[in-house]
Each structure stands twice: as structure tokens, then as C-alpha cells.
Symmetry: C2
């Protein structure tokens, strides 16, 4: 299963597999986590390892709100936040709380391939809408809504996975208007929002949550460490109350109480902010290296738009060939990529491939692109 | 909502609220967690804060299997275990992976009240089966299965919540036979299995998982700390593979990777075993104190069976009065309990109440029972 590549299998030594959409080991800040954990544990209280308050400890929510206010460029209130056990958990939770079997979820074409299985687990009908340079094509969406009402619309507004593009402000505003007009919920996967390496993106959809049609999903996985399993949903009061009424959180309390205290200390000590700024610096250089390497080795065979943030380059094979059969060849060349088709909910996008620049340093990126060029 | 009592509201100072089914602060081992965390962090590697392997890190699963083998009294293989983010998460996950909206889940009458909302979140039809001293009444179950097929049967085999009773070995074996005959899955909530204070209970239903009809849910919440949000499902290979195929775990990896390393160290250092033995010692004394206090103050007005483990006394008011209206009186007397009706999926059990002995020391238990007697 393609999905397993993303976490189960560390690439074999010597391999430079751009299919892996994960940070490299040098960007997984174990020292930061150790420092934050020790700072927390020095004064930790028994109550902090009991069941946690359902929405998350208020001290965590306040620290998170301050951190988001700084990095989103617009005020975020602790009252709009709800702690999750990461983005995948949040997607699952949203399906449980806000959809019923047989409902329709609209996704972008292409979209994050592992989201599809979450939607299928909940018996949802998946309908796709194409993207252009400004994001989801809302004219096509609106046409489609006439005959197939949406319960949920899943979008990745900033530094899209896989295609790296960012939804314009006008498009974001119109999508929210449509959600009110056609009565659907926007599930905004905003995990790359803070990973901007040039100009920042437009304000997150979370900043438009007051009408109770937006669920903005964020996570510490991309900006700190995936293994912590801590994320959040930003939502208006009505939707947040619906999250709080769920059985699993009523029974088990805060979805990751203990770990949220460690992250709270990481924020309060300023470590999370410095780490984020370090990531922006490092990823920008990796992005630029990959862009230059692609121009050098593959400029005549691929077309692409350089992303301004996130993890990914989305490349179109000018020959129109199917990229899936090339994966075996890539393994022989000790490299790898994700073929475009895995990001299609309807079997298309065969002539695309996704490369992640997050998992390798600049020298490896240069060498890896050379190998990919040999494959293509 | 009644459920919120279980974690959102610490009882006001001076109150002795036996409605709270949580450990007292002195039984939340923050020093143990600190020691285990420091032991882990001293040698922690970056990969351990990346996405974790879906079923859980093999080192964690091996430590957990050894711990369970010791405490279950029967061999548990790491290959039969799947890490969850606690029992409430596990119930939610089981519903997502193994049921469809409109399916029927059988529950015991009474049963753990917060489970009902989890099942309702997934659109399941809840049917109840009465309990007797040996557990779920399987004759009634079998009759009911003739006209209403079950997809899931939710049971709390050992030291039942709320009624403290334990399913006999013969009943456990017959339930597994029925699951094969009638093609349903047993969701065994075995979180109290290791909290035995006299003779141990029969082997957990997890030990009968080889036919792929049992999902045995366990958790560190009752034996270590609820806020860690780490539990497990023990299952046969087919059901475990189905858990591994879920979208949320394929996308996010191990459901609580970082925290599982801390618990692994707690097990490997022997701290988890000593803590469990300490809990057995302390809870036995609290149980005996509550039993004696009840005999002294309420022996003529209530009937009950003394539990041999777990957290709870389940008491029947001999007058047959409804216990719900007495809750307000209990607040005035600075005490509290859970009225029987919350544990009924069909509005019954009005003349029962549940008292937890987990949250208070012996002196408070004596005084609290005196106050409850004044209320009743």
C-alpha cells in the first residue's frame, strides 16, 4: 500500500526517495522535546496526568492561541480551539461528528491521498473538483453542487499536498460564501499554513470560522514532530460545541493531555517559534536547491510551478507518459517519488509525479534529482 | 451532561463525590512518569518523534506483551497487539472500522454510560441484555439474536462498570462460541482486568481472540494515568489487519508514538508493575472500608454484592425509590453518586446508584458514606 511509505518504511540507506513526505532526522528536534519535557516535568502536578478537560487544558489553548496569533497574522482566541491527536485523528473525528454514511465529501483533484481512506472508512461518497493556480475551481464546484449536495468540502488551502499551490484570498472568501449558501462544512487542512518560505499565504480559513461553516485543522506534526500526535481544530462556537458533545471525548477527556503540556512548555519557552523559523530557513534552501536541480536536469521534460512553501513539487511529464511503471525503475536507481495517480480520487493524473524536498539535505536533493532524471 | 463529571469538574473542596470514577491525586504517579520520561529522553532518538509504525513501535509492543503475560496469567504475543490512544479512542475506532450506520450493538444492562454516546455517534442501534451474577445473560442474548442480529457485542467482563461483577469462565467461553455461531464481534472492555484485590478473575477475553471474533480493549488509564492516552487492542490476525487498514492510522501512524516510549520505559524499569501492585493494595483497603461503612450506615436500606476488584459498588435501594432526584440533596450534603438510570440504555435502573471508591482515602470514604446515608 502506497500509504505505508509515508511512515512505516524508512528509506534504505543510500536511497534518496522523494516519495517520503516527512522531515529528515536532523529536523526532528529531539533536544527541543527533551528540554520542553524536562521543563514541564520539573513542576508537573498529578492532575495533569488525570483525564484532561475535553477541549484541551486552558493553559495549552492559551499558549496555542498566542502562537497562532503570531504566525497567522490575525487574532486567534483560545475559545475557538479544540485539541486533537493530530490531523489524521481530526479528519476522522470530523467525519464521525459531522457526517453520515452516504453523505458526499468534495475533495480537490489532486488531493492528499491518505485522506481518501479516512472518508471511505466513514462510508462517504467522494466527488472531486479540479484545481487551478488559485485553488479549487469554484465555478465547477458550484455547478456540481446543483445536483450533488455536499456535506463536507475537504481543501488544503496553503502549499497544497501534492501540488504546492495556494488558494487566493478571493477564492477563500467565495468558498466560505458558498458554504453558507449551500449549507456545507469546509474541512480546511491547514497544516502547511505556517511553512511559508517567501511571502506568507493569505489568512487561513480558520480566520473565517465565525459563521460555523469552517473547521480549520492544524497540527504540530509538520512544525514540530509527528510522533507527538497533537493538533487542533479551530472552529466557531456552534461547531466547537458539537465537537465537545462527541462520545469519545466525553469518555476519555482531552485527546492528548500529557503531551499537550510538553508542547505548551515548548511554546512558552520560545522553542517552538525558533524551531519554526529554523524550518522555514532550511526548507527554503531545500526548495530552491530542488528547483534549480530540476531546471538543470529535467527542465526540458517536466513542467512545474515552484511552490512558495510546504513540502512538495508537483511535476507534469511533458511526454504524457504514465509515471507509475517508472517507480520500479526508480527503486533500481535508488531513488523514488509518488506517482500522480495516487492523488486522484478517480484514477487520473497519470502523467504527474510528486517530489518532497523535506526529507533530504541539499547535496542529496541534487543527487536525487539527477537519479530521477536518469529514470525519466 | 452527566459525563462531564468524570473529568471536567474536580469536586469542590470539602465535597466527597463518589460519582467521580477516577483515581485520587495520590494515586496519579507523577514521579513515576517523570522517572520513566527522563529515562527515555536520556537516549531518545529523532526517529522516535517521527510518525510511528501503525501498530505501535515493536519495542513498546514487546514490553506490553511481557507485562500482560505476567498480569493476565496467559501468554500474550506482541503480534496480537495494536496501540490505541486509550479505551475511548479504541471504542470509537472499533465502530469506524467494524460497523456501519444502522448496525446493532448489544450492551449489558447496566453498562458504562459514556459508551452509549460513542455508539450513537456512529449511528448504531443499541440493544441491551440483562446481567446476572455470572455476567451477561446469554440465554436472553441468544433469543434476541434470533430476530435482531448483532454486529458488535460490548461487554465489560471483569469488575464491571457500574456493577462490579465478573463474568464467569463458562460464560466467557459460551459468549465466544456464540460470536462464531452468530457472526458478531465481541468488544471486550477489559480495563479493570488487572485491578483484582482478592482472587484474580478468569482469563481475559483477549486470551480467546484467535478465532477473530474478539477485540480486547485495554488501557493504561486505570493502571497508570488517564492523561497519557495510551491503550491497546488485542486481536486475532484478521481483525488486527483490518485495524491496520484504517485511514487515520495509515495517514498519522501510531496513535500515540511519543508517549508509548515513556510507558515502555515505565514497564522496562519495573515501575509499572510496582505501581499496579500498589494500586491493588490501596484499592483493596478502600473497597473494604466502603463495604464496612455501607454495612454500618446503609445495611438496612441498600442491597449489594461486594466487588472483588475495579472501582465500583452498585447498590439497590430497597425502597425502590428513584435515585435521580436525590442528587441535588447529595450536593447539599457535600457528597455525590451516579444514579442508576445513567447506566441504562433504555431508561431503567432508577432504584440503583453507583459509588466509586477510587477517588478518596479511607477516612473520606467513611465520612462520605455517612453523608450518603443522610441523603438516602
Amino acid at each position: 500500500m502506497a500509504g505505508k511509505v509515508t511512515f512505516d518504511a524508512a528509506p534504505p540507506p543510500g536511497t534518496i526517495n522523494f516519495g517520503v513526505g516527512q522531515p529528515s532526522a536532523d529536523l526532528l528536534p529531539i533536544d527541543l522535546v527533551r528540554t520542553a519535557a524536562e521543563d514541564y516535568l520539573a513542576g508537573a502536578q498529578p492532575i495533569e496526568i488525570n483525564y484532561g478537560v475535553a477541549a484541551g487544558d486552558i493553559r495549552f489553548l492559551e499558549s496555542l492561541a498566542a502562537f497562532l496569533t503570531t504566525n497567522y497574522g490575525s487574532a486567534v482566541s483560545p475559545d475557538s480551539l479544540f485539541l486533537t491527536a493530530g490531523n489524521s485523528h481530526a479528519m476522522d473525528l470530523v467525519c464521525t461528528q459531522f457526517s453520515q454514511q452516504g453523505d458526499t465529501v468534495y475533495v480537490e483533484e489532486p488531493s492528499y491521498f491518505l485522506a481518501f481512506q479516512v472518508f471511505r472508512d466513514h462510508g462517504l461518497n467522494i466527488v472531486s473538483v479540479p484545481l487551478d493556480d488559485e485553488g479549487m475551481d469554484l465555478d465547477i464546484l458550484e455547478q456540481s453542487l446543483q445536483h450533488t449536495p455536499a456535506r463536507l468540502i475537504y481543501t488544503i488551502p496553503s502549499y497544497h499536498n501534492p501540488c504546492g499551490s495556494t488558494m487566493s484570498l478571493a477564492r477563500r472568501q467565495r468558498l466560505v460564501e458558498l458554504s453558507r449558501q449551500y449549507d456545507f462544512l469546509i474541512v480546511a487542512d491547514e497544516v502547511y499554513q505556517m511553512l511559508h518560505y517567501f511571502d506568507p499565504p493569505p489568512a487561513p480559513l480558520g480566520s473565517m470560522a465565525e459563521h460555523n461553516t469552517v473547521l480549520s485543522l492544524g497540527s504540530f506534526s509538520k512544525i514540530l514532530a509527528p510522533g507527538m500526535r497533537v493538533g487542533w481544530i479551530q472552529a466557531g462556537p456552534k461547531l466547537r460545541d458539537e465537537l465537545l458533545s462527541g462520545g469519545a471525548v466525553a469518555s476519555g477527556g482531552s485527546f492528548n493531555h500529557f503531551t499537550s503540556h510538553i508542547i505548551r512548555h515548548a511554546i512558552d519557552l520560545g522553542l517552538q517559534q525558533s524551531h519554526l523559523e529554523g524550518l522555514r530557513f532550511t526548507y527554503r534552501r531545500r526548495l530552491e536547491t530542488m528547483d534549480l536541480s530540476l531546471q538543470r536536469h529535467l527542465g526540458d521534460r517536466l513542467s512545474w510551478q515552484r511552490p512558495d512553501g510546504g513540502y512538495f513539487f508537483w511535476l507534469k511529464l511533458l511526454s504524457g507518459a504514465d509515471t507509475r511503471p517508472l517507480r520500479q525503475l526508480a527503486i533500481e536507481q535508488q531513488t523514488g517519488f509518488q506517482p500522480g495517480q495516487v492523488f486522484s480520487s478517480s484514477g487520473g493524473l497519470k502523467d504527474y509525479l510528486r517530489l518532497s524536498f523535506a526529507h533530504y539535505d541539499n547535496a542529496d536533493i541534487e543527487e536525487g534529482v539527477r537519479r530521477v532524471a536518469a529514470v525519466l
